[in-house]
C-alpha cells in the first residue's frame, strides 16, 4: 500500500521503553527504598490517578466537574462499610468502593447532564455536598464523627503477611508496600487504559465531542453516550482510588472523605499547571505539586497562599499548562495519540 497510518513517534518509542523501565523499577522499589519514599510514591501515584481521571473528564470529555470528592468519599465509605459492617477484607473491599462510586455516578450523571458549563460545575459540587451530608447521617460508620479501621482488619489484610515475610518488614511497613503496589497497579492501569482509549476510535470520538459537539453528532458520534461513558469510568476509577487512599489512612470522617480542596481543588491544580488535555500534563503536574508540598508545606498558610498565586500565574501565562508550553515549543509527545498518514505527497505537517 502507498499509505499507512501510524501513531508511533520516535519520542513515543523512547518514552515507551523508559516507561517500561520505570515500571519495572517501581515494582522492585520496596527492595531498597525506605518507607518514606514508599509513602511519598503512594501519595504521588494516588493523586496522579485522581488527576488522570479528572483530566479525562474535563480535558477530553469537556465535563468540568467540581464534585469528584463525591466519588472519592463514596468509594472510601463503601470500603469502610464492607470492612466494618460485613467483615470483608480491606483489599477486596476496595473493589466495593469502585462499584459504589459507579452506582452513585448514575443518578449524578442523570441530573448533572441536564446542566451546561458553569451550571454543570456547580451542580456536581452540590451533589457532592448532598452525598457528604447523607453519609454524615450514616450512624453505623460514625456519622459526622467518622471512624477508624479496626486494627485486626488492617493487621490481617490479604498479602500483608506475605510481604512481611518477603522483605522481613514490620507489619505497618508491609502494609505500606502493599498499598504502594496497589497504587502503582492502579496508576499504570489508569494511564494505560486512558492511553489505549485515546488511541482507539473512542479517542477520536471524545476529541470530536470536545472540539465541537454539534459537528460530532453530525458525523454520527453519540455525544450523549460518550459523556456517560467517561463520567462512569472516571467515577469508578476515582472511587477505587478513594478506597485505596483510605485503606492506607485507616481513619475516615465525612469532612476528610468529601474534602473539596484535597480531592478536587488540588487535583484541578495539578492538571491545570501540568497541562490539561494531555496524559503528560497530570504526570508533570503531580510531580510539581509534590515538590512544592515537600519543600514548602511547613510554611503553613504562606505555602497555601503561594499555591493560590502560582495557580493564578500559571493560568494567566501558560493557559495550556507547563507541558503544553513545552510540547508547543518542541513538538514532543510522550504519549502520541495522533494518527499520522505516512506516504508519498504528504507534507510532514505541523503537529
Amino acid at each position: 500500500m502507498r499509505y499507512r497510518v501510524q501513531t508511533r513517534t520516535r519520542a513515543g518509542h523512547i518514552a515507551g521503553f523508559v516507561a517500561l523501565g520505570l515500571i519495572a523499577l517501581a515494582i522492585v522499589l520496596p527492595v531498597f527504598a525506605g518507607r518514606g519514599l514508599i509513602q511519598d510514591m503512594f501519595f504521588i501515584l494516588t493523586m496522579l490517578v485522581l488527576a488522570q481521571f479528572w483530566n479525562l473528564l474535563a480535558g477530553y470529555g469537556g465535563l468540568v466537574s467540581v464534585g469528584q470528592q463525591a466519588f472519592v468519599g463514596m468509594g472510601a465509605y463503601a470500603m469502610f462499610g464492607a470492612v466494618i459492617l460485613w467483615g470483608v477484607d480491606p483489599i477486596p473491599a476496595i473493589l466495593a468502593g469502585g462499584v459504589a462510586a459507579l452506582l452513585l455516578a448514575v443518578p449524578t450523571a442523570y441530573f448533572a447532564f441536564r446542566l451546561q458549563g458553569a451550571y454543570f460545575a456547580i451542580g456536581t459540587w452540590v451533589i457532592a455536598e448532598v452525598t457528604r451530608l447523607m453519609v454524615a447521617q450514616w450512624k453505623a460508620l460514625g456519622g459526622g464523627t467518622g471512624t477508624s479501621l479496626p486494627r485486626e482488619a488492617t493487621g490481617d489484610m490479604w498479602g500483608v503477611s506475605a510481604v512481611q515475610a518477603l522483605f522481613g518488614l514490620r507489619e505497618a511497613a508491609a502494609r505500606d508496600v502493599l498499598a504502594y503496589w496497589l497504587a502503582l497497579a492502579l496508576a499504570v492501569a489508569t494511564i494505560g487504559g486512558i492511553y489505549w482509549l485515546l488511541r482507539n476510535r473512542l479517542g477520536l470520538a471524545l476529541s470530536a465531542v470536545r472540539d465541537n459537539t454539534e459537528a460530532a453528532k453530525s458525523v454520527g458520534v453519540d455525544a450523549g453516550r460518550m459523556k456517560w461513558f467517561v463520567f462512569l469510568i472516571a467515577a469508578f476509577g476515582t472511587g477505587l482510588c478513594g478506597a485505596l487512599i483510605f485503606v492506607q489512612t485507616a481513619r475516615i470522617s465525612p469532612d476528610a472523605a468529601f474534602n473539596v480542596s484535597q480531592w478536587t481543588a488540588y487535583v484541578i491544580f495539578i492538571v491545570v499547571i501540568g497541562g490539561i488535555g494531555t496524559i503528560e500534563g497530570p504526570i508533570l503536574g503531580v510531580l510539581i505539586f509534590f515538590a512544592l508540598q515537600s519543600a514548602f508545606a511547613d510554611y503553613g498558610s504562606w505555602y497555601l497562599f503561594a499555591l493560590g498565586i502560582i495557580g493564578i500565574v500559571v493560568m494567566l501565562v501558560a493557559p495550556r499548562g507547563l507541558w503544553g508550553l513545552f510540547s508547543d515549543r518542541t513538538g514532543i509527545h510522550l504519549f502520541p495519540v495522533q494518527r499520522r498518514l505516512v506516504g508519498r505527497d504528504i507534507s510532514e505537517g505541523e503537529t
Binding site: 459492617l85 477508624s148 485507616a250 476528610a256
Partner: protein, 400 residues
C-alpha cells in the same frame, strides 16, 4: 541510664492545627516549645512540629511523615478530636507511642473504634494514651452550676453532627442520661450541621419545652448565630452553659453584652494551683508569660500544650532506649506525675474498664464569663465541687 541522659537528642513529633479554623488551639505552640527547649530537660530534645492545617487528612499524613521520615521517638498531639484522632489512629497502626490531650476522652476513645455503636467490639490501644476529662465530668460540673440556680430543670441541647456533638448528644452514653439521673430533662431536637445559619427550629423546640437552660458543644460562629436569634425571637433562658464556643476570650468578646455570664466548663485557668516541673512556673506565671510575650489574653489550651512537654520529659526519663516503642509505651502507661494541669496517671481512676488502660482524667470545674467595664471578659471559676483544690472566684449568676 535513662534515655534523657544519653546525649543523643530525643525526637518529639508534634502535630498541631497551626492554620485553619482550629488555629486558636495552637496559638501557644511557639511560646511553650520555646520555653520547653530552653529548660534544662529540654536540651535533650528536638521538637519537630507539623501543621495539620485543621484538616484531618493532612493530620494523618504529617503524622506518618513524622514517624517515617523524621524517625521520631514519641508523638504528641492535642486540640480537638479532629486533630487527635487521625494522629492517634496513625500512631497506633504504626506502633508509635503517642500522648494526646485536649479532647474529651469519649470522642477520642470511642471515636477511634471501628463501630462506635457497638461497645462489645471496642478494643484498648497499645500505643495511644490520652489525658483529659470526660462527659461524666462535664455532666457533674454543669449540674453543680445549675443547682446553684433556681430553674425548672428543663434543658435545651445543641449538639452538632461532629465528633464532639455526637459523643455529647448520644442518647445512651452522652450527657442526657446523666442529666436525667439528677432530675433534669434534656430536649435534644437532633444533630445539626456545623455552620448552620438558622436556629429557629431549635429555638422553637426549646420554647415549646419551656427550657430555662441551654447547653451543648457548639462552634463559635454557630453559637453567636444561635444566641442572637434566641434573643431576637424572645427566648431568654436563665443559664447558657456551652462548651467549645466560648473557650476563647475573643469569641466571648465578639458577643459583646450578650456574652456576660455565659458559662462553660473550665479545664485550665491561671488560678489552677499547679506548677510546671519544667520551668517551675505556676499557672498564673505561665499565663502571664504568654500574655507578656504575645500581648494576647491567656487561653485554656496553654496549660495543656505545656503539660504535653512535661509528660514527654517525664516519660523519657524513665526509659533506657528512646527508640524502643514498646518500652516508651510501657513508660507512658506507668506515668504518675504532677503537671501544670493536674495529676496524670493511667491508673483507670474514674473510668470504665474498657478505657482504663489508655485514658487518664484531669480535673474539671465550672466557670462563668464576666464582662468588665472596658468590654473585655474574665473567666471566673464558680463551681469547684468536682475539684476542690481549684479555688472559686465567685458564685453562679443567672442570666439577666
Amino acid at each position: 541510664a535513662p534515655a534523657l541522659a544519653q546525649g543523643a537528642k530525643i525526637r518529639l513529633g508534634y502535630v498541631s492545627p497551626q492554620s485553619g479554623p482550629l488555629a486558636g488551639f495552637a496559638e501557644s505552640d511557639a511560646y511553650n516549645i520555646k520555653a520547653f527547649l530552653a529548660s534544662e530537660a529540654g536540651a535533650n530534645f528536638e521538637v519537630i512540629v507539623k501543621d495539620s492545617q485543621s484538616n484531618p487528612n493532612r493530620a494523618a499524613e504529617v503524622a506518618k511523615e513524622l514517624i517515617i521520615d523524621d524517625e521520631i521517638n514519641l508523638m504528641l498531639v492535642a486540640s480537638t478530636p479532629e486533630n487527635t484522632n487521625p494522629v492517634a489512629t496513625t500512631c497506633e497502626a504504626e506502633g508509635m507511642p503517642v500522648i494526646s490531650t485536649a479532647a474529651p476522652w469519649q470522642p477520642w476513645f470511642i471515636g477511634q473504634q471501628g463501630n462506635p455503636g457497638d461497645p462489645a467490639s471496642w478494643k484498648p490501644f497499645d500505643f495511644a494514651f490520652h489525658y483529659f476529662w470526660g462527659l461524666e465530668d462535664v455532666i457533674a460540673v454543669f449540674l453543680n452550676m445549675w443547682n446553684q440556680l433556681d430553674t425548672n430543670k428543663s434543658i435545651g441541647g445543641l449538639f452538632p453532627n461532629d465528633a464532639d456533638g455526637n459523643a455529647w448528644g448520644d442518647p445512651n452514653v452522652g450527657v442526657g442520661p446523666g442529666f436525667a439521673a439528677a432530675g433534669y430533662t434534656l430536649n435534644d431536637p437532633g444533630r445539626y450541621q456545623n455552620l448552620t445559619d438558622d436556629f429557629t427550629a431549635q429555638i422553637n423546640a426549646f420554647k415549646a419545652a419551656n427550657a430555662q437552660i441551654v447547653t451543648g458543644v457548639v462552634i463559635p460562629p454557630d453559637f453567636t448565630t444561635f444566641w442572637n436569634q434566641a434573643k431576637q425571637q424572645g427566648f431568654a433562658p436563665k443559664a447558657a452553659t456551652v462548651a467549645k464556643a466560648i473557650l476563647f476570650p475573643q469569641s466571648v468578646e465578639a458577643l459583646g453584652e450578650a456574652g456576660h455570664n455565659l458559662s462553660s466548663e473550665v479545664w485550665w485557668s491561671n488560678t489552677h494551683p499547679f506548677a510546671s516541673s519544667l520551668t517551675g512556673q505556676s499557672a498564673a506565671d505561665l499565663a502571664a508569660g504568654f500574655t507578656a510575650e504575645t500581648g494576647r489574653p491567656w487561653t485554656q489550651p496553654i496549660g495543656f500544650i505545656h503539660s504535653l512537654f512535661q509528660m514527654a520529659t517525664n516519660v523519657m526519663g524513665r526509659v533506657d532506649d528512646a527508640a524502643d516503642p514498646e518500652a516508651v509505651a510501657a513508660a507512658i502507661a506507668a506515668t504518675d506525675m504532677d503537671t501544670i494541669v493536674g495529676k496524670v496517671a493511667f491508673n483507670g481512676a474514674g473510668l470504665p474498664p474498657f478505657a482504663a488502660a489508655n485514658v487518664c482524667k484531669t480535673p474539671l470545674v465550672g466557670g462563668q464569663w464576666r464582662r468588665k467595664a472596658d468590654g473585655t471578659f474574665d473567666l471566673v471559676v464558680v463551681d469547684n465541687q468536682t475539684a476542690p483544690m481549684i479555688p472559686t472566684g465567685g458564685v453562679m449568676e443567672a442570666l439577666a
